[in-house]
């Protein structure tokens, strides 16, 4: 099934709502996105950050107050949703309850006036693709959550949409099915090479499916990049804390030379591989250290010394809570075999690789 591959450009799009208590608020504020043909972009953010509003504006369900939306260079800002030829998968699937699986999937083709034989063939093909052959005459009420999800997916792709849009498609599924479905969505998207925009609040899901992630907060895109970019080189405290677990350690910048930055923190000096451009000498900064980059060694062998407040054995890994001065640090170590002799109340040395540490200015929220 070949689908024409095009890109999506969102240019300075804004959308205001009137809120009963807060007055007029921006659901989306000057949002810019550039999705390459065939790319899988995820809008990630907490609830109320504007990701769904942005997606719905791309689909044509909402109309931006400002800005424009282009599909493959063509301005579609004023085009109604039914003329945009996009596939949309809703959070609640929105399967027509009065139609069978076949009729649900056939709906978009019937609207396009295709011949019955063509429709039957296309529907059969796409149901086979999502693994639902034989379900044609069932109704949505008789399907499990995962099956409904697949019907919704089949219904969206059978019309050969130019762009595929997902609005939190997995949030109504249980944890195990969620993992399975996200792999299926990703595989399907790859095999169809269809430009996809996906909305979720689950950072793990975002990292698993996306080529690129745009993190949104309060109506704006705050950072765009690959999963690794966001995880290891967050541009703000918000992104650092929203994507994964993190230790934010206060410090003072001593000097910045070339690729390395030296920061006074944790009673010693810590070297970092990346630093926010705004950071200069003498400034108060925050060190971004992920729990798994803290390596536990003998006392005296590490960069600094810490006390073990608690350790929790979780099978594949052990989580430690450390204290260094008045700073508490989370640390995760994977267990290669029998656990070593680190106990609660003991002291350890901690070593940090400079390349795994990022420096943010104190004010970058």
């Amino acid at each position: 099934m070949a689908i024409e591959t095009i890109g999506v450009q969102v240019d300075g799009v804004s959308k205001r709502f009137s809120h009963r208590v807060k007055g007029e608020i921006y659901a989306a504020r000057d949002v810019h996105l550039d999705v390459a043909p065939g790319e899988f972009l995820t809008l990630l953010g907490p609830s109320g950050c504007g990701k769904t509003t942005t997606l719905r504006m791309i689909a044509g369900f909402e109309h931006p107050d400002a800005g424009s939306i282009r599909l493959g260079g063509q301005d579609v800002t004023g085009l109604p949703a039914n003329q945009r030829n996009m596939g949309f998968v809703f959070q609640n699937y929105a399967l027509f309850p009065h139609l069978s699986v076949f009729d649900n999937v056939a709906y978009g083709l019937q609207v396009r006036g295709q011949a019955a034989a063509v429709i039957a063939k296309s529907v059969g093909d796409v149901l086979a693709l999502v693994g639902l052959s034989g379900y044609e005459h069932q109704f949505s009420g008789q399907l499990s959550g995962g099956e409904q999800q697949r019907v919704a997916l089949a219904r969206a792709i059978v019309i050969r949409p130019r762009v595929l849009l997902f609005d939190e498609p997995l949030s109504n599924l249980d944890a195990k099915l969620r993992v399975q479905m996200r792999t299926e969505i990703r595989d399907l998207q790859r095999s169809l090479a269809i430009t996809t925009i996906y909305v979720t609040h689950d950072q793990e899901e975002a990292m698993a499916v996306s080529d690129r992630i745009a993190v949104m907060s309060q109506g704006s895109v705050v950072q765009e990049g690959t999963a690794e970019d966001l995880y290891y080189r967050p541009a703000s405290e918000f992104v650092a804390t929203f994507v994964g677990r993190v230790n934010l350690v206060p410090g003072t910048l001593i000097e910045r030379s070339g690729d390395t930055v030296t920061v006074a923190a944790l009673g010693t000096t810590i070297r970092a591989g990346t630093a926010h451009a705004a950071v200069t000498g003498g400034a108060a900064v925050k060190l971004v250290m992920r729990p798994e980059v803290l390596e536990l060694v003998e006392v005296g062998a590490g960069d600094f010394r810490a006390d073990v407040i608690s350790c929790t054995f979780l099978g594949e890994k052990t989580e430690y809570l450390l204290r260094c001065g008045d700073v508490e640090l989370q640390c995760v170590r994977h267990n290669a075999g029998a656990v070593g002799a680190i106990r609660e109340g003991s002291a350890v040395g901690v070593r940090v690789a400079a390349s795994a540490v990022t420096v943010l200015p104190e004010a970058a929220r």
Partner: protein, 562 residues
């Protein structure tokens, strides 16, 4: 959240066309008559005047009619709510077998599907000067049935089903765990009822009271037959002013007096009571209480009370049927089909007229109901809320006011409709189509908007989406609208008595004429015919509903609920 920049309706030409057409109709058949009525009362040759109102306020007879109307409405509201609550509580809490519930529902349904004065006729048959009970059974002579008491009892029996239908789903929806919790905390059953069940019902009780208050305030036929000269009420006074004295202005002024309390009740119900519900009625029902929430003695007492009321209703209708089959009730009890022969020969044209009007009003009213309901619930257009409010006006106002307003508005050019069937049909469509609107809005609130968006996203325009997705899902609301418009077209009288003519008249009006001419046999026969037709149509609509209902659609529990 609503969008600040309401999307222009111009974006969707199909929607825009329908909205403009509906506004034109609403302005013509709701706003224009009401404004004309107010103009007639408050303006004389272009000058503002309160002379018409003052004339009523200084007329002791009319002032008495005003207070009588309020008193009657108050008593009917209280009495009907209490009986309705007893029925609802019994049905919801005393674990009745299914067949008994069906009997109760049938007995309660009867008054709702009959012409409004059916109980009134049965009252006369039973308690009149030659009444079956007063004269034949007790041998009393010279008793008078006319007055407050008979009007009150008749109206309570006619309208308490409204209270029953609003309170029963509410009681069923109260989470039984709340009552179980109170019981487990050591409260007695009576205390649980007093401190948990009843407080949760208070908004529902207030709502039922206001509905009954409005129904009684608007009732025209019952007082006309039963109230007599010593207990004048506003709707009948307005009617007599117009048909007896040919005083259109005076009748309009009297109906204006009625407008004030009616509007008050409407606003109170809409903006105050409806926002104070603790219990959300989803239509699913929480099922029967898992424990015995009433003691056997209380259960027996409740059942006895319901049995008495239900038996009275059934007796009244049996009496009506009997009266239609004997020469003259109270005088000659020989069986005969004479009355039916009369109504099917000289009365055939009335039956034909009524069926034509009801048959035309039904599809139009049903269509109007789902169109307005769909637009106000789903489409963001300027004046959406105003449209919803305006569409409710003719429904909320007493029929007398609507009838007089139509009479004044459409009697003269530019729009002369008096004497046509159209004026009666329009009156029914814009008055009773409101039920379909509310049913549609209620159903759409349960249908996620994403279904329509999904259709749109798949390339369907708003017309296709409505036809292929929305309409099949709200079909039950459409059938509810059809049913209610048909039933009311067959049974209503308060508004249309002002609109019938030599060319087009209605069964209900003919029944009233028969009663005033004291030809009670044909009146009974007509009433039986109406009840029969209505039952057949309800059964057909119920069948149609099952036939058409898609597997995923939401069932409608009652055609009259809410």
């Amino acid at each position: 959240m609503t969008t600040v920049s309401a999307p222009a309706i111009g974006r969707d030409p199909a929607v825009a066309t329908v909205v403009i057409a509906l506004w034109a109709l609403l302005l013509l058949f709701v706003v224009y008559p009401l404004v004309t009525l107010l103009g007639r009362v408050l303006f004389d040759h272009g000058a503002f005047t309160t002379a018409g109102i003052a004339a009523i306020l200084t007329d002791r007879h009319q002032v008495r009619a005003f207070w009588n109307s309020l008193l009657l409405a108050l008593l009917v509201g209280s009495g009907g709510t209490i009986i309705g609550f007893v029925f609802a509580f019994t049905a919801a809490r005393s674990r009745l077998p299914r067949w008994l519930l069906t009997v109760i529902d049938a007995a309660v349904l009867l008054p709702l599907v009959s012409p409004p004065f059916t109980t009134a006729i049965a009252m006369i048959f039973s308690f009149g000067p030659r009444g079956l009970i007063t004269y034949e059974l007790l041998g009393l002579k010279g008793v008078t049935v006319y007055g407050l008491m008979s009007t009150l009892s008749s109206e309570i029996l006619t309208y308490f089903p409204i209270a029953y239908l609003t309170l029963r789903p509410l009681l069923a929806a109260i989470d039984s765990n709340l009552e179980g919790m109170a019981l487990s905390l050591g409260a007695s059953r009576w205390r649980v009822f007093r401190t948990v069940t009843l407080p949760l019902c208070i908004p529902g009780l207030a709502n039922a009271f206001l509905l009954l208050f409005a129904a009684s305030l608007a009732d025209f036929a019952t007082p006309l037959i039963l109230a007599g000269n010593n207990f004048p009420v506003l709707p009948t006074q307005a009617y007599l002013q117009i048909t007896g004295l040919f005083d259109l202005r005076g009748g309009a002024a009297l109906s204006f007096m009625l407008l004030v309390p009616a509007l008050g009740v409407f606003l109170l119900q809409r903006y105050w009571v409806s926002r104070r519900f603790y219990v959300t009625v989803t239509g699913k029902g929480a099922g029967q209480t898992p424990f015995d929430s009433i003691s056997p003695a209380v259960r027996a007492a409740l059942l006895a009370a319901c049995a008495v009321v239900a038996a009275t209703i059934l007796y009244f209708y049996a009496l009506l049927l009997y009266a239609s089959l004997v020469q003259a009730l109270g005088a000659n009890h020989a069986l005969t089909l004479r009355h039916y022969r009369v109504i099917f020969t000289e009365g055939l044209r009335v039956i034909r007229d009524t069926l034509i009007i009801a048959g035309l009003a039904m599809p139009l009213g049903g269509l109007y109901g789902i169109l307005v309901g769909y637009l106000v619930a789903r489409k963001p257009f300027v004046g959406r809320r105003t449209m919803e409010l305006v569409s409710m006006i003719n429904y909320a106002l007493p029929g007398t006011i609507v009838g007089i307003a139509y009479l004044i508005a459409f009697n003269d050019p530019p729009i002369e409709l008096t004497g046509t069937a159209l004026i009666i049909i329009a009156c029914y469509v814009f008055r009773y189509g409101a039920t379909g609107i509310r049913a549609t809005v209620a159903m759409l609130q349960q249908i996620d908007k994403s279904l329509e968006e999904a259709s749109q996203g798949l390339g369907a325009g708003s017309g296709t989406t409505f036809r292929r997705v929305t309409l099949p899902l709200i079909l039950p609301a459409f059938f509810t609208g059809l049913g209610v418009v048909f039933i009311r077209s067959m049974t209503a009288i308060s508004a249309t008595i002002f609109l019938v003519s030599i060319s087009w008249t209605l069964i209900t009006v003919r029944i009233l004429e028969n009663i005033t001419e004291l030809s009670l046999g044909p009146a009974a026969a007509y009433s039986v015919l109406v009840v029969g037709i209505v039952f057949v149509v309800i059964a057909l609509i119920g069948r149609g509903l099952r036939w058409f209902r898609a597997p995923g659609a939401i069932p409608v529990t009652s055609m009259f609920g809410g």
